[in-house]
């Protein structure tokens, strides 16, 4: 027994000795002293190049490394000067003149000039690069034709450097959200000289994005990229607004699991992280934790119908199922993350658009419609499968909906969960009957949502098609008048709500922990983080 006791004591002493047996300063405390922000990023990044990446983890880092012609006020969402200090727009809304500020510099000290945008967008539209954001540049005159190869000369595309500081952009049609697009990572300028040092201009994934080679124009510049460990950036001394940047650096840790990220937060290893686990939201909210932040987001969670297969080729069936869903109860009792019940696809829009049409909750009407479709009280309704990707939160929603339909309409559905890539493949090939989906708007405009369901649209994936709808979306795209555009969108949305190729369930709400030592944090409808406004203050205990 003596041996055993001695062993326990020795082991405990060793652990204490190794750990110092006292509470060490956490990374957050050290970060507060040194103005280094520690961020839990949700995944390892594929790359830093905005032309070859599309994910949120990459975006969270890119916005620190690059800056577009304009930026955006997080609260008002109004465009703010970025690389350009001023701009003018022609009366028809098609021609923009940007003035590049005198002090615009790359992180190696090179001057940033108008031609840099021309060269970057030229690269973005090179087909061999396989840029997934290329279609974003199609708002430029002749950009699509150049990308498709029908125009070979890039000078025909609507972007020209009139001088070192004057950039002229000609759009294919009036695009009221164009200034917002300029703040999108697909539109950031890239240092082409550096790209060319490491390969051909249209070559993907060369070594230009390694920390030792990287040149950018954002408030920060890349200093380390160790896969699965950390991406570190430090303040860029050449940034035009460097004197207002208080953070000395940011360290992004790839933490794939929300649970692990929340634990890292509690242990003081990160100031903030991407997403609070659903089951922890109530705890932080009820305890009024000062770190807890909840904010509306420009995104919708919905279910897709495969409108090409029975029984969902009948709009009455789709409507019946949609009308039978109590979405208020769903957000209150199931999702519980302060989400807003959604009765139409587009979320309420701070720029003035809120859809008039809705898909109401009306059980009596739902029963009637189902009966008209030939399934009174659900009799004879075929067995259908609801497909979702494997995640507990999707499962909870699916189970609740399964129960609602059973209770109100008397129909039975089966639930099927699939691993992410398998799920995506089945959704893409329309190998499903009913499946879960979601969409986060790329810009604050109904267009980003309503574009989804044009005939044969890449993200339609319902098989639904309506010529009038397509025409309305087209008309909206070519209209110079915002009120008129919104009217076209209202009409289109009414068609969508009448024909119900999808069932909107709720509008996303962001739930996040941001350490109280982080000052200057602003919630953003698209969850864009603005690091240059942040600073850290030690917390007194």
């Amino acid at each position: 027994m003596n041996y055993f006791l001695r062993l326990i004591i020795i082991t405990l002493i060793s652990i204490c000795a190794l750990s110092g047996c006292k509470k060490n300063k956490t990374l957050v405390e050290l970060g507060n002293e040194e103005q280094i922000l520690h961020v839990g990023n949700s995944d390892e990044i594929a790359d830093v190049d905005p032309h070859t990446t599309t994910g949120t983890p990459e975006h969270n880092i890119q916005i620190s490394l690059f800056e577009g012609l304009v930026t955006q006020d997080a609260e008002t969402l109004e465009p703010k000067p970025g690389v350009a200090d001023s701009w003018t727009v022609s009366e028809d809304g098609k021609i923009y003149h940007f003035h590049i500020r005198d002090t615009a510099r790359w992180s190696n000290g090179d001057r940033l000039v108008a031609q840099d945008f021309v060269d970057t967008w030229h690269r973005a539209l090179m087909p061999a690069l396989a840029n997934q954001w290329a279609s974003y540049l199609f708002v430029l005159n002749n950009a699509e034709a150049f990308y498709n190869g029908s125009i070979k000369d890039f000078s025909a595309v609507g972007v020209k450097a009139l001088s070192e500081q004057e950039l002229e952009i000609t759009l294919a049609s009036n695009t009221p959200y164009f200034l917002q697009l300029l703040n999108h990572n697909s539109m950031y300028p890239l240092h082409i000289k550096t790209i060319l040092k490491f390969g051909a201009i249209d070559e993907r994934s060369t070594l230009w994005t390694r920390a030792e080679n990287f040149v950018g124009n954002g408030a920060f510049t890349l200093t380390e990229w160790t896969p699965q460990k950390v991406v570190a950036v430090k303040k860029n001394p050449y940034y035009w607004d460097a004197e207002h940047v208080k953070l000395k650096g940011i360290r992004f840790y790839p933490i794939q699991s929300d649970v692990n990220a929340e634990r890292s937060y509690r242990a003081g290893q990160v100031h903030l992280f991407d997403k609070l686990p659903k089951d922890k939201i109530a705890f932080y909210r009820n305890n009024k934790d000062p770190a807890y932040r909840t904010f509306p987001m420009y995104g919708t969670y919905f279910y897709r119908f495969n409108t090409l297969v029975k029984p969902f080729n009948d709009p009455r069936v789709r409507k019946a199922l949609a009308y039978a869903l109590d979405r208020e109860s769903l957000v209150k009792n199931v999702t519980k993350g302060s989400e807003l019940a959604a009765y139409t696809l587009t979320p309420p829009n701070p720029h003035g658009y809120t859809a008039n049409a809705t898909i109401p909750y009306d059980v009596e009407k739902a029963k009637k419609l189902l009966s008209e479709a030939g399934y009174p009280d659900g009799v004879g309704f075929p067995k259908i499968k609801l497909l979702y990707n494997t995640l507990e939160s999707h499962q909870k929603i699916a189970v609740a909906i399964q129960e609602m339909w059973k209770k109100t309409l008397g129909i039975e559905i089966q639930l099927e969960n699939q691993e992410w890539k398998t799920f995506l493949e089945n959704q893409r090939t329309m190998n499903y009957q009913l499946c879960r989906a979601s969409w986060i708007g790329d810009y604050i405009d109904p267009d980003t949502f309503l574009q989804l369901f044009i005939t044969d649209g890449g993200n339609n994936e319902t098989g639904w098609s309506n010529t009038t709808y397509d025409q309305l979306i087209k008309k909206a795209a070519s209209s110079n008048n915002q009120a008129e555009r919104f009217e076209f969108f209202q009409q289109a949305e009414k068609i969508l709500d009448d024909e119900v190729p999808i069932i909107p369930l709720y509008t996303y709400v962001g739930n996040r922990l941001v350490s109280p030592s982080v000052k200057g944090w602003k919630n953003h409808l698209q969850d864009f983080w603005s690091y240059k406004d942040l600073y850290l203050e030690s917390q007194e205990h």
Binding site: S19, L27, K229, Q269, K421
Partner: protein, 311 residues
């Protein structure tokens, strides 16, 4: 002895080839591709990406060109992390995995042997029951339970040790090593107890006791050498298992090891990365099994006779 080693190496070549072929065709048969995303990727972009990575070629052609590159030691570019080659990522991730496995092995052997020896000295008494019940608990408690439990106690409540990272904050290697090593420590405790009990009942130990030697001398000088033989044969596959099976611990503790790349690769359909990791881990398993066999043969003269090298 040399012939035995050469024979074993030759035997492992078809094993590795089989692993390569089976994994290659299985990963390509999995639904969904490396470039599919929630936001639909335009078909022309998919076409160009497939061309770039030769995924548009017939499967047999892809396989043979893969094996051709493999023989040159080239695992190809990662599909998910395209500016890195799989070789780069293995080189980047393996040191952390290896270090973790190394510390876990030390922990497992140290704790396992001590517990096993203590238990064997007084079998069927409290001195036996406590370490052996703890060992049973260690075997039953999977790392995804033990890890968060240790994190909660030492990371969150006591705040003695960091909850994540590897080599970033002092002490961040302790909890992952314990978590990974715990179940192996438990196995070693049970195996060494068995081995020691057998040895301690031998006549020469009784003689040593009769001569009045101290317990410590009997254990460390006479009994331990024989008692740990089963532990050595367990260690070969165990180390391979520690290396290849560390992904759960790597995920819980955010360790930038190869295991995390491996699991993520499967979710991302990063074909080349899955292949690279599988072949690499298969190679390690083969090597460690070989090493453990060689050590056993070297330690055991009877086995040495059997494999044909009696000198």
């Amino acid at each position: 002895m040399y012939l035995f080693i050469i024979r074993r190496i030759l035997q492992s070549i078809p094993v590795l080839l089989l692993v390569t072929a089976v994994t290659f065709f299985m990963v390509h048969a999995a639904p969904g591709g490396p470039f599919s995303q929630e936001r639909n990727v335009p078909p022309e972009v998919i076409k160009r990406l497939n061309q770039r990575y030769h995924l548009d070629e017939p499967m047999w052609q892809q396989f043979f060109s893969y094996v051709g590159n493999l023989l040159k030691g080239d695992f190809g570019p990662s599909f998910k992390y395209p500016s890195h080659t799989v070789n780069d990522l293995i080189v980047a991730g393996f040191p952390a995995t290896f270090e973790l496995a190394f510390y876990a092995t030390i922990f497992a052997v140290l704790i396992g042997l001590i517990a096993g020896v203590i238990a064997s000295l007084k079998p069927n008494t409290i001195q036996d029951y406590i370490p052996m019940s703890s060992a049973m608990l260690g075997i039953c408690l999977p790392s995804f339970v033990l890890g968060p439990l240790l994190l909660l106690v030492f990371g969150i409540w006591l705040q003695w040790l960091p909850v994540a990272g590897w080599g970033q904050i002092p002490g961040d290697k302790i909890l992952p090593s314990i978590t990974l090593g715990a179940s192996y420590a438990a196995y070693i405790a049970r195996i060494s107890r068995g081995g020691m009990l057998e040895v301690l009942s031998q006549d020469y130990i009784r003689t040593a006791r009769a001569k009045g030697l101290s317990t410590a001398r009997i254990v460390f000088v006479h009994a331990l050498r024989g008692g740990i033989t089963p532990v050595i044969s367990f260690l070969g596959p165990a180390i391979a298992g520690l290396l290849a099976g560390s992904f759960v611990v790597e995920t819980i503790f955010q360790i930038p090891g190869l295991g995390r790349f491996y699991v993520q690769a499967a979710f991302n359909r990063d074909y080349t990365m899955i292949m690279g990791c599988t072949i690499f881990f298969a190679f390690l398993i083969v090597v460690f099994n070989l090493l453990s066999d060689v050590i056993l043969v070297w330690l055991n003269p009877r086995l040495r006779q059997q494999v044909g090298g009696g000198h």
